[in-house]
């Protein structure tokens, strides 16, 4: 019940295209859903996060869509750029979760020219 399933494992998108990464969870207690971005040789860094009281959150070219009934959330990267090439992790947390996040398995995104 603590798992967060992430897909696809890897993704290749052309420059200017839309990158979409999906995550699904089982534990309905989760109430915080962040996305982290990791560049090679670096630690993950928070990209954007959403609470389940909204269905969408947008920050620049990055949008989280959240479907509470389906227990799914996704990251959309509009106008994808080569500089977006990185590994993306979804995660989930909740108040009784012991001060920790459960991470998805990661998606390696490559944006080609």
């Amino acid at each position: 019940q603590q798992q967060v399933k992430q897909s696809p494992q890897s993704l290749i998108v052309q420059k200017g295209g839309i990158s979409i990464i999906n995550c699904a969870y089982e534990n309905t207690a989760f109430d915080y859903f962040p996305w982290y971005q990791q560049f090679p040789g670096k630690g993950p860094a928070l990209l954007i996060a959403i609470r389940p009281d909204v269905s969408e959150k947008k920050e620049g070219r990055f949008t989280i869509s959240f479907n509470k009934s389906a227990k799914q959330f996704s990251l959309h990267i509009m106008d994808s750029q080569p500089g977006d090439s990185a590994t993306y992790f979804c995660a989930a947390g909740y108040t009784g979760g012991g001060n920790k996040l459960t991470f998805g398995t990661g998606t390696q995104l490559k944006v080609e020219l």
Binding site: D31, P34, K42, P44, T95, N99, G106
Partner: protein, 115 residues
């Protein structure tokens, strides 16, 4: 002005050795973590300390022992290293005690290779 710094960046050692990884954060955060990232990039929490007190201890072999001398430092000591310990180890911190929804700040990792 590095926020979360880990040393060393690379660590190559032989099976059976004992090694330590150090972590320091200058963000004034109360909570610190150790994560392990395997070759498939999967991130798994190992330990968490809040104000020097152990609050999360996942299913980790007792060869791994964290130590927090103060709330700005969290070190990881590993005894009797095994091949399967090869991974990238990340230190992270966040503000607050139970603030699961405040951003995690990660260091740049320590790549441990056991031969």
């Amino acid at each position: 002005d590095t926020a979360v710094s880990q040393t060393p960046k690379y660590l190559v050692t032989q099976m059976g050795n004992d090694k330590s990884i150090k972590c320091e954060q200058n963000l004034g955060h109360d909570t610190m973590y150790w994560y392990k990232q395997d070759s498939k990039k999967f991130l798994k929490i190992m330990f968490s300390y809040n104000n020097k007190e152990l609050i999360i201890n996942e299913t980790v072999p007792n060869r791994f022992s964290p130590k927090s001398p103060d709330k700005a430092h969290l070190n990881l000591h590993i005894n009797s290293l095994e091949l399967g310990d090869s991974a990238v180890y990340f230190c992270a911190s966040r503000r607050g005690g139970a603030s699961y929804n405040s951003p995690l700040h990660f260091g740049n990792g320590t790549r441990l290779t056991v031969t």
